[in-house]
Amino acid sequence: MNVIMILYYLITAFIVVMVGWNFIREKKSVNDMILYLLVLIPLVLRLLRVK
């Protein structure tokens, strides 16, 4: 795994944390909660090196 690839994994992890934090902070809109989770799925699958 080269340096740029490791950086991309770190960027992905950062975005996962940010989107996760937004999900936790969301109080009312169920639509936004669903949206955050849908965005998270492919990013988590990439972090887990599944797809």
Binding site: I4, M5, Y8, F23, I24, K27, K28, V30, M33, I34, L37, L38, L40, I41, V44, L45, R46, L48, R49, V50, K51
Partner: protein
């Protein structure tokens, strides 16, 4: 007391987790599943491609090279398949060779999974099946269905544009993971360039005479059902084309390798080594765009009503009728054309002739089916089993 907010969030998280598990587990299993190969009596050693390109060592792109040496010295042939892992007729043909071929004179180098990463990649967006089964006399033998390009899990990120080395030709970003655009490669380039570089080094160091790269192409694509050859291989390719038509009854025309289209095996192997390259294209209706669902049945029998309708309007580049374009026929073409290339080369170069026995020809495969030539791993000696 749990608030309504957290009740909703917990329910949504549970649904997301279920979706992730349902979607992710089959992909994880596909990526980690193994196909057993029973090395036949002709295999004298199995080496790693990284032996010729240290940059590959320990990476998921490293792959097995089955070496079949004859008792007599002679010429050397390299046969590659799964350069594009969604064109599996080549893979089946090379595995038949590994399991059955016996070399009497010269040496065969067989790389069944040239792009090992692409063989563990999928194309769920196009609804590709994850596996396909080939019926044999001892049960179904299961293979992974791969993708055209290496997995981004091995090589990421993609550039905006892939700049080919050394010609600086511009390709689609995807082609940086396509091992039929990354020839001749670099020792320290992106991972797929390191794969092609190692293969080039093998050809240069071991003085390989012939390289055969097995592919499949859409019936609506003009470069299909053919042998692609540069000028230096054209004479042999023409003789092969005429002979398979006359002796075995199938068409396989010759396409010239374009001088200005870089990165392809039939171009760069010829330009960067003494080896004579040939790229074989067998039709694969599964890859055509205007077909019905991308099912295992379509992959294996090549029958599709939409293609049939297009054939009647003369929109296809191959003959096409109700019989489709079955896998047995495609694998048979690859085997016969390979044997004929070896025969024609040996006739022209008696000092470095190659003699191979045990590989079935087109007629045999159409008659008995591909599965007839695969051996049962349960009955084979453990030391002869390799996993791809």
């Amino acid at each position: 007391m749990i608030s309504r907010e957290w009740t909703v969030k917990s329910a949504l998280l549970a649904i997301a987790a279920v979706l992730m598990i349902l979607g992710g587990v089959p992909l994880y299993k596909h990526r980690h599943s193994q196909v057993p190969i029973v090395a036949g009596p002709g295999v004298t050693k199995v080496i790693k491609l990284s032996q010729f390109g240290p940059g590959l060592k320990g990476s998921p792109a490293d792959t097995d090279v089955f070496v079949l040496e004859g008792k007599e010295p002679g010429g050397k042939v390299l046969i590659m398949s799964n350069t594009h892992a969604n064109e599996p007729a080549g893979l089946l043909a090379t595995l038949i060779m590994v399991e059955n071929a016996v070399v009497e004179k010269g040496t065969l180098y067989v790389i069944p999974e040239f792009n090992a990463s692409a063989g563990r990649n999928t194309k769920p967006g196009d609804g590709y099946p994850l596996y396909f089964d080939i019926p044999t006399e001892w049960g179904a033998k299961r293979f992974r269905m791969g993708n055209r390009d290496a997995s981004p899990l091995e090589q990421w990120p993609d550039p905006d544009v892939y700049i080919h080395y050394p010609d600086k030709q511009l390709f689609s970003f995807l082609d940086v993971r396509n091992t039929n655009r990354t020839w001749p490669g670099r020792a320290d380039g992106p991972l797929m360039e390191r794969v092609t570089f190692a293969a080039m080094e093998m050809m240069r160091r071991d003085k390989i005479d012939i390289a055969i790269d097995m592919h499949g192409a859409e019936t609506m694509f003009p470069v299909t059902n053919c042998i692609v050859a540069p000028q230096k291989s054209a004479k042999i390719a023409t003789l092969v084309s005429m002979n398979v038509k006359a002796m075995e009854g199938f068409d396989n025309h010759v396409e010239p390798s374009p001088g200005n289209f870089r990165g392809l095996s039939h171009r760069e192997i010829g330009d960067f080594s003494e080896t004579l390259p040939f790229l074989l294209e067998a039709p694969i209706p599964f890859l055509d765009q205007p077909t019905g669902p991308k099912t295992v049945k379509l992959l294996l029998d090549g029958k599709d009503p939409f293609l049939l309708s297009l054939a009647k309007k003369k929109k296809l580049f191959v003959p096409y009728d109700e019989s489709g374009w079955p896998m047995d026929k495609r694998v048979g073409q690859h085997c016969s054309v390979t044997l004929e290339i070896i025969r024609q080369y040996s006739k022209k170069n008696p000092d470095t002739a190659i003699k191979v026995a045990g590989i079935p020809r087109y007629g045999d495969l159409v008659k008995t089916g591909v599965g007839h030539y695969f051996h049962d791993p349960a009955k084979a000696e453990i030391k002869s089993i390799y996993y791809e």
